[in-house]
C-alpha cells in the first residue's frame, strides 16, 4: 500500500508539476519499486477515465437580462434630466414670447425700450464733438428714411463717405436753418445732440418733424453708426425661435428616453 505522501508525489508527477530534482528522484524509485509503479499506473488510469468524460453542452444560454441583475438602461436615467430641461426651456419660451408680444404690440413700451438706445447715441455723439459736421449730419440723416430696411441700407452707406455724403447734407442744412447761424465746423455738442435725437429737444423735432413712429424708428436706427445692425425685436425674436427649437428637441428626447 503506497503511503499518501507518495500518492501525492505520483499525482503531481503525472501532471508534470514536480520540480526537476524531485522528479528525477521519483523516477529512480519507480525503477526500483514495483508497488510504487503500480500505483502510478492506477493513477494514470483514473486520470484518463475522468478525462474521457464528455463535455456537456449547456442546455441553454446563460446570458443575463437587465431584470435579473437589477441593471437599468442608461436611457431611463436620462429621463428626469430631459424632463426638467424641457420644463425650464418651455417656461423660458413662454416668458420670452410674452415679452416679445408686449414689445411689438405697445409703442410706448417700444419707446421706453428704445430710450436707452437714444442715450447711447447721445453719448456717442458727445464723444464726437471734434467730428466734422458732414459726418454728424450723416448720423442724423437716418430719420429721413422711413422704412427700416432702407434705413439700414442708408446707414450702411454712411460708412462710405463718397456715396452717402451728398444725400446726408440736406437734413443738415435744415437743421442749421432752424437753429440759426452757426459755425459750420466744428459743430457744438448741443447741436449734434439735437440733430441726432429729435425727441429730446423741441427744435430738433420741428426740424425733422418725424411722426412718432418715425421717431421711434430713428431711435432704433440711430446707432447705425455702430456696427450692430439688428434691432431689439429681431434679437428677441431670434431668441424665441432658438428657444422654441430647443424646447421641441428636448421634448423629443424626453419622449424617446421614456419610451426606452
Amino acid at each position: 500500500m503506497t503511503n499518501p505522501r507518495d500518492v501525492e508525489l505520483l499525482s503531481a508527477y503525472i501532471d508534470r508539476q514536480l520540480p526537476a530534482a524531485e522528479q528525477a528522484r521519483l523516477e529512480t524509485r519507480l525503477a526500483r519499486e514495483p508497488e510504487l509503479k503500480q500505483t502510478l499506473i492506477e493513477l494514470r488510469r483514473v486520470q484518463r477515465a475522468v478525462r474521457s468524460l464528455p463535455q456537456v453542452k449547456p442546455p441553454r444560454s446563460f446570458t443575463l437580462k437587465p431584470n435579473q441583475v437589477g441593471a437599468r438602461s442608461p436611457w431611463p436615467q436620462l429621463f428626469p434630466v430631459f424632463r426638467l430641461a424641457t420644463t425650464f426651456a418651455a417656461l423660458a419660451l413662454v416668458i420670452l414670447m410674452t415679452r416679445d408680444l408686449m414689445v411689438t404690440s405697445s409703442p410706448t413700451s417700444q419707446a421706453e425700450q428704445a430710450a436707452p438706445q437714444a442715450a447711447l447715441v447721445q453719448e456717442t455723439i458727445g464723444s464726437l464733438t471734434e467730428t466734422p459736421a458732414p459726418e454728424i449730419a450723416m448720423l442724423s440723416s437716418a430719420p429721413a428714411i422711413t422704412e427700416s430696411v432702407a434705413a439700414a441700407d442708408a446707414a450702411n452707406k454712411t460708412t462710405e463717405p463718397a456715396a452717402g455724403g451728398a444725400v446726408a447734407m440736406e437734413p443738415f442744412s435744415a437743421t442749421v436753418g432752424a437753429t440759426g447761424p452757426q459755425p459750420p465746423a466744428p459743430v457744438s455738442s448741443d447741436t449734434a445732440r439735437s440733430a441726432a435725437n429729435p425727441t429730446l429737444t423741441p427744435s430738433a423735432t420741428e426740424v425733422s418733424s418725424p411722426t412718432p413712429e418715425e421717431a421711434v424708428l430713428d431711435q432704433a436706427q440711430a446707432p447705425t453708426a455702430n456696427p450692430t445692425p439688428a434691432s431689439p425685436e429681431s434679437g428677441l425674436r431670434g431668441w424665441v425661435i432658438g428657444l422654441a427649437l430647443l424646447t421641441v428637441l428636448l421634448t423629443l428626447a424626453t419622449w424617446l428616453t421614456r419610451q426606452r
Partner: protein, 209 residues
C-alpha cells in the same frame, strides 16, 4: 477551450465593471460551457447545474467590481464552485428532496446532452458502453467530498493548471496537490469496486513504460 480571436477579454471586463451588461454577456457566452461543466460535474445533474451556473453569472456580474486581474476563468470557477457548495448545503438541510439527485446516474435529458457530443463514427455498442462508463465515473465523483470533487474536475475535466485551480478554490498550491492526489486515490478505489469490468482495455490493462 479555444478563445474566439475577436474577443478582447480585458476590454470586456472593463466595460462590464462600468455596468455594461452586453459586454458581460459576451464573457458569459465565452465561458458558459466550462462553467456549466464544472457545475454539472459537482452537482451531478443538469437542473441543479443550470441553477448554479445562472446564480454564478448573476453573482459574477454583481461582484465584477471586486475582480482585480489574474485569470478571469479561475475567478469565475471560484464563484460557480461556491454556488454549487451553497446548493449542496441547502440539499443537506433538506435531504428527503435531494437524496436521489446526489446519487443519480446519468439518464434522460442529461445523458442526451452528453450524447450530442459523442463522435459520429462511434458504433452503437461503443456509444452505450461509453455512456455507462461516464455514468459510473460521475457516480464516483458524486461520492467524493465536495472540495476534492471540484479540484479533480477543474484539473482533469476542464484542464486547468494548478495555479488556476488554487485561485479557483481560494487555497494554496499545496492544498491543490494534496486534494487532487486524495481525490484520485478515492476515485481509483471507487472505479475498481464499481466499474472495473466497464473500464475499457486502455484504462484497465495499460502498462507503463
Amino acid at each position: 477551450m479555444v478563445r474566439s480571436p475577436s474577443m478582447d477579454e480585458p476590454a470586456l471586463i472593463r466595460e462590464a465593471q462600468r455596468g455594461d451588461l452586453d459586454s458581460f454577456n459576451r464573457l458569459v457566452l465565452e465561458y458558459q460551457t466550462p462553467v456549466y461543466n464544472l457545475a454539472y460535474r459537482i452537482m451531478g445533474e443538469g437542473d441543479s447545474a443550470s441553477d448554479a451556473t445562472q446564480d454564478a453569472f448573476i453573482s459574477a456580474y454583481k461582484n465584477i467590481g471586486y475582480y482585480r486581474g489574474g485569470s478571469f476563468k479561475a475567478w469565475l470557477m471560484r464563484i460557480v464552485t461556491n454556488a454549487c457548495y451553497d446548493e449542496l448545503r441547502r440539499r443537506k438541510r433538506r435531504p428527503a428532496a435531494s437524496l436521489e439527485a446526489l446519487t443519480v446516474v446519468n439518464e434522460g435529458p442529461d445523458a442526451e446532452a452528453e450524447a450530442s457530443l459523442v463522435a459520429k463514427d462511434e458504433s452503437p455498442e461503443d456509444h452505450a458502453q461509453r455512456q455507462e462508463l461516464a455514468a459510473q465515473i460521475q457516480n464516483c465523483l458524486n461520492h467524493l467530498p465536495e472540495d476534492m470533487r471540484s479540484v479533480v474536475v477543474m484539473c482533469d475535466v476542464l484542464g486547468m493548471d494548478y495555479a488556476e485551480i488554487a485561485t479557483g478554490i481560494g487555497s494554496a498550491l499545496g492544498t491543490v496537490k494534496s486534494r487532487l492526489s486524495r481525490a484520485r486515490a478515492r476515485l481509483r478505489d471507487c472505479l475498481r469496486d464499481q466499474a472495473g469490468e466497464l473500464l475499457p482495455a486502455a484504462f484497465r490493462l495499460e502498462t507503463e513504460a
